[in-house]
């Protein structure tokens, strides 16, 4: 029975989505949100249950391709599965009151459920091709969420933003498919567990470099790594609130999770050759993201660029190829998912109230006119800049510790310079977040908002949605053992080979 848990985990949101599609128009519209709530809540429950009780599931789907539905959970994917189920549930709850005005709610809930299937599938898949299929299931729903419910006042329009998002990601995943097929051509199997155990045995070292480059490119676009990031600000700014929460909270993690789960173990020698370049791009990403945020004019774009910086840390952690580096990467992954999710919820709430997210128009004084929302924004900003005692710190600290003494094959001096620049990036991150607090939260309320009536502070429902995220950020900050106990053994086994 326990091996049916994982397929059940995927079946519940899929059933919800199909139900919304099949039900006749009138009833589906009325019951859209209840179905969404039940489906996501059930998924969360099954996720929690399967984290403890699930055993790997294995069934053949397309024998000729060698595609098998292989699902499994271990220390690396547990936190991400829980994070996905948790954030999706919060998004649906958030939609209950904040009805996105454009388009129908039924379609939105259906799309979010389909998104959840794709995301959960990506984290559960233990078959390379199955991972690729779920990796792509996410694209079309997110495209429609951005293009139909997005904010059209973005420069260039929301459809172009959605297009750049999907074209960038698809280019990456097309190249990733080539990598996957090359692996199969050389080793004859798609099974990740077997490939990890064999540690890239079937492939010569330059084939492994080719495989790592192909897989790495696909994941780097999704992470996003520095030069391939230009889709992120447009997509995040144009996406509706729950869209950007899921985009930042989970979709970015699929890239780094892929690197850790697939690219590094399957092609270890390739990883060793490419890791220094990956580290260099990561560090440039950190500094580039931080500098870009310093002078950003739009609040949502600023948070999007902060994701480029934070994911730079995660990539640096992976580039060290050490257990502590990868532990740091996973921790930063989960922490960034929670904190950026919270930041986008808050910025979305601010934007819904002020109908603008440009910092100049918002003016200062958020503390003054909306103390609770202002306080939460400052909390999230401080958590995001990596204050110890909050979730953001441990990931970045472990990454730097990993860079301090990287894997034996890597050049130590080079990684020390990377660590130093990343440290500088840390300070720049503090600078732009603190100046964000100064420009938005502190100071006087602009006259324009003084007499605006609709500026209510955070509503009880919003607080109910955000409170668990805040609590998790604090718990993960004060008690890192909770997450590290789960990831450390899995990472040691992964790198131990």
């Amino acid at each position: 029975m326990s091996d049916l848990l994982l397929p059940l985990l995927l079946a519940v949101p899929l059933a919800g989505c199909v139900a919304l599609l099949v039900l006749p128009g009138r009833t589906a519209d009325r019951f859209a949100l209840p179905i969404g709530l039940v489906a996501t809540a059930l998924t969360m429950a099954v996720a929690l249950w399967s984290v403890f009780a699930a055993t790997p599931y294995n069934a053949s789907w397309v024998p000729s391709l060698g595609l098998r539905v292989q699902l499994g959970l271990d220390g690396i994917s547990d936190p991400l599965v829980l994070l996905t189920a948790f954030l999706t549930f919060l998004c649906i709850v958030f939609t209950v009151r904040v009805q996105p005005e454009a388009g129908r709610v039924r379609a939105l809930v259906g799309l979010v459920l389909l998104l959840e299937v794709g995301m959960l599938g990506t984290f559960l898949a233990l078959d390379l091709l199955l991972f690729f299929v779920f990796f792509e299931v996410v694209l079309i729903p997110m495209w429609f969420v951005i293009a139909q419910w997005g904010d059209d006042t973005v420069p260039g329009g929301r459809v172009r933003a959605a297009n750049t998002f999907i074209i960038y990601t698809l280019l990456g995943s097309a190249v990733m498919l080539l990598g996957i097929l090359l692996v199969r051509a050389k080793t004859g199997t798609f099974d990740i567990a077997a490939l990890t155990a064999s540690g890239g045995a079937g492939m010569s070292s330059n084939v492994q470099v080719l495989v790592f480059l192909a897989l790495g490119l696909g994941f780097a676009v999704k992470t996003p790594m520095w030069p391939l990031h230009s889709w992120l600000p447009d997509a995040h700014t144009a996406a509706p609130t729950i869209g950007s929460v899921l985009l930042a909270g989970v979709l970015l993690k699929m890239g780094t999770y892929g690197l850790i789960r697939i690219a590094v173990p399957v092609a270890p020698q390739g990883a060793e050759v490419v890791a220094p370049f990956l580290g260099a791009f990561a560090v440039v990403g950190i500094v580039y993201g931080a500098l870009a945020c310093l002078v950003q004019r739009d609040l949502k774009r600023l948070i999007a660029f902060s994701s480029v910086g934070h994911m730079g840390f995660v990539l640096l952690g992976i580039a060290t190829l050490t257990p502590v580096g990868i532990n740091g990467a996973l921790y930063a992954n989960v922490a960034h998912g929670l904190i950026s999710g919270l930041l986008f919820f808050l910025v979305g709430a601010i934007k819904d109230r002020h109908h603008t997210s440009s910092i100049a128009e918002l003016g200062g004084g958020l503390y003054d006119r909306m103390p609770r929302l202002g306080g939460l924004l400052v909390f999230a900003a401080v958590a995001s800049l990596g204050l110890p005692g909050l979730a953001g710190f441990w990931g970045e600290m472990l990454t730097l510790l990993g860079a301090f003494d990287p894997a034996p094959g890597l050049n130590r001096g080079y990684y020390l310079t990377l660590m130093a620049i990343a440290g500088l990036g840390l300070v720049l991150t503090t600078v732009y977040f603190v100046s964000l607090i100064r420009r938005v939260a502190q100071g006087q309320t602009a006259p324009r908002w003084q007499q605006a009536l609709l500026l209510r502070d955070a509503t009880p429902l919003e607080l109910a949605v955000w409170a668990p995220v805040v609590a998790l950020v604090v718990v993960l900050g004060c008690w890192p053992k909770l997450l590290l106990d789960a990831t450390d053994p899995a990472v040691r086994m992964l790198l131990g080979g």
Partner: protein
């Protein structure tokens, strides 16, 4: 070991309650905050009593270890003489500040968040004091930083507060990055984050001198940042924009002293690196002298005290540089007492007169007798006049410097001489600016607009309470069984004969010269005599402007450059490829213009090309 945990958790709990329920139960805020600090103070007293009774106190409580991937770290706390005494100082000042703030910030709309943040700060400081794991210490270290950021920015309506808060947090954060790398170097060499094991390794010589030097220099960045020493001192004067009790607690007694406390805690590692000690000596000398001179020319009373704090901290760093952790701890304790007293007194003066600027003050001697007396005690201790605590602790430092100058200390003799000379010189200058402050504030006729009145009891009592240690704490250093014993050190902290005489002479000379200048023109500011040097001293040798040009402007222009590249180059790249695909499509459309024979030409041309290609290539 229970009191240690209580000392940390009580204020933390108070903070949590304050932040959480502050808005809904405003009445509960003040009692909860004070209760938190009081419980912490009692716990600290119990610990101090244990430290005094069983002299070389050493105790550990190890919590769960957290796996990281390489060597794990654990939630451990430890108790020894130094920790107990410093925790008493912290708890005492925190309690005084909490009580004082109830009056000073009466009616402030955001008092609940203020009190909660002060409690959180106290808990963080306690964590730093009692931490036995480098990472746990770092957590406390940075939580203190963020509390100071929020508290400086308490009056965020004012631009000064916002700017001061940002500057304080960024500069300390810069230092903390170096601090983090120092922790990595140290922990990697010992394969553990545990301070106990680091000290043991240092004593048994398991840490090589080069690693020790690199680690201590990096740790020094953190210390210099947090304790506002020479390169990273610019944030402390601007931090005065925060409420005065905050300045008293954080920017006088506790946070800024955390750096010195850390060096004292890891002193065995520092002793392995004489070159670091030399660097510390140089930094201490520069900071000591520069800050004292700057204090001489300040007009705002709080900025005078801020620069004075920087200078006094340099004394403690100097003591550590010349090899005497005991002197540093001693001066730390006495400084905590009299500097907190000075700030709170200044607070009541500002509260009465309504402005910080000394040129609007005067003649407060009669109007505010209690403040006058306690401030005089404080200033005397600061100047180092004999009966007061300041004299004894400063003498301990100078004695240690003289001792090292004779060649017996761990540091190079030239560094010891540098410390000794600048130390003595600064004693004179300190006495000068202390007297200037004293005269301009309390003597001559009242220049202030409103009639000044004495502070309310809630503000007066803390002054009186703090005045006691400010005067008597000096005696603690006389017997070697007292303070040195409690700290577990076997060095004597009695003032040396020669240095004591010299420093008293210099102090009196400084005070008298300022008094003479003042007597000639009581209405004007005595520092006017500095003439051409005054603006330089007032602007603290233009270090701020230098940093602005060297660091702030380049970063901002780099940011604009990054934004430009992002909009133009990277985005254009992605759009460009889309557009050129479209143009290629348009080009292809030209081949489909409908003429059949054009199609046939294309077909036949294609066939010919294909055939020639295949025949020639295979």
């Amino acid at each position: 070991m229970i009191p240690v945990v209580v000392a940390i958790l009580a204020p933390a709990l108070a903070a949590l309650l304050g932040l959480g329920a502050g808005r809904r139960f405003p009445r509960l805020v003040v009692p909860v905050a004070i209760a938190g600090s009081a419980v912490a103070f009692l716990a600290a007293l119990v610990l101090a009593a244990r430290a005094i009774s069983s002299a070389p106190l050493h105790d550990r409580l190890t919590g769960p270890t957290v796996p990281t991937g390489t060597f794990p770290f654990g939630l451990d706390v430890r108790l020894d003489g130094l920790a107990a005494l410093v925790s008493v100082a912290v708890a005492a000042v925190a309690l005084a500040v909490q009580v004082y703030s109830t009056a000073y910030l009466k009616g402030d709309p955001r008092y609940s968040s203020y009190a909660a943040l002060v409690s959180l700060f106290t808990a963080a400081m306690m964590l730093v004091v009692f931490a036995d794991d480098l990472l746990v210490l770092l957590v406390g270290w940075e939580v203190m930083g963020v509390c100071s950021y929020f508290l400086i920015g308490h009056h965020w309506e004012q631009e000064g507060a916002r700017a001061g808060a940002v500057k304080a947090f960024v500069v300390t954060r810069l230092g903390d990055v170096g601090f983090l790398f120092g922790i990595f170097t140290l922990a990697a060499s010992v394969k553990s984050f545990d301070i106990e094991r680091v000290q043991a390794a240092a004593l048994h010589g398991q840490i090589s001198q080069s690693t020790a030097t690199v680690a201590t220099l990096l740790l020094l960045c953190g210390v210099v940042g947090k304790s506002a020493q020479f390169p990273l001192h610019t944030w402390l004067p601007d931090a005065m924009a925060g409420p005065t009790p905050v300045s008293a607690l954080i920017h006088a007694a506790t946070m800024v002293a955390a750096g010195i406390y850390l060096v004292a805690r890891l002193y065995d590692v520092f002793l392995l690196a004489p070159s670091t000690l030399a660097v510390m000596a140089v930094i201490a000398a520069i900071t000591m002298l520069g800050a004292a001179l700057a204090a001489l020319a300040q007009d705002d009373i709080k900025r005078v005290l801020a620069y004075s704090t920087v200078s006094q901290l340099a004394y403690m760093l100097a003591a550590l540089a010349v090899g005497s952790a005991g002197a540093a701890a001693f001066h730390l304790l006495t400084h905590a007492a009299f500097k907190a007293l000075l700030f709170l007194a200044a607070g009541s003066v500002i509260h009465a007169v309504g402005t910080n600027l000394m040129r609007d003050m005067g003649g407060l001697r009669r109007a505010m007798p209690v403040t006058f007396v306690t401030m005089t005690v404080g200033l005397a201790a600061l100047a180092g006049l004999p009966p007061f605590s300041g004299f004894f602790s400063k003498e301990a430092v100078l004695a240690a410097a003289e001792h090292a100058a004779r060649g017996e200390g761990p540091v190079a003799t030239w560094a010891a001489w540098l410390v000794l000379v600048t130390g003595l010189l600064t004693v004179g200058i300190t006495a000068a600016y202390a007297t200037r402050l004293w005269l301009m504030t309390f003597f001559h006729e009242a220049r202030g607009p409103v009639s000044p009145h004495e502070a309310s009891p809630a503000m007066r009592w803390p002054l009186l309470v703090l005045a006691v240690p400010a005067t008597l704490l000096g005696a603690v250093g006389l017997r070697s069984s007292w303070l040195p014993g409690w700290l577990g050190l076997d060095e004597s902290l009695r003032p040396g004969a020669v240095t004591a005489a010299l420093s008293v002479l210099l102090a009196v000379a400084g005070a008298v010269s300022v008094a003479l200048v003042w007597r000639r023109a009581p209405a004007t500011d005595p520092s006017g005599r500095l003439g051409r040097f005054r603006p330089a001293f007032a602007r603290a040798f233009y270090v701020d402007e230098l940093y602005d040009r060297v660091a702030v402007r380049p970063v901002r222009s780099a940011a604009r450059a990054v934004l430009w590249t992002d909009d133009e180059v990277v985005a254009a790249g992605s759009l460009g490829s889309g557009r050129c695909a479209g143009r290629a499509g348009a080009l292809l459309q030209l081949t489909q213009r409908g003429n059949v024979q054009a199609y046939l030409t294309g077909v036949l041309a294609g066939i010919v090309l294909l055939a020639v290609g295949v025949v020639t290539l295979t």
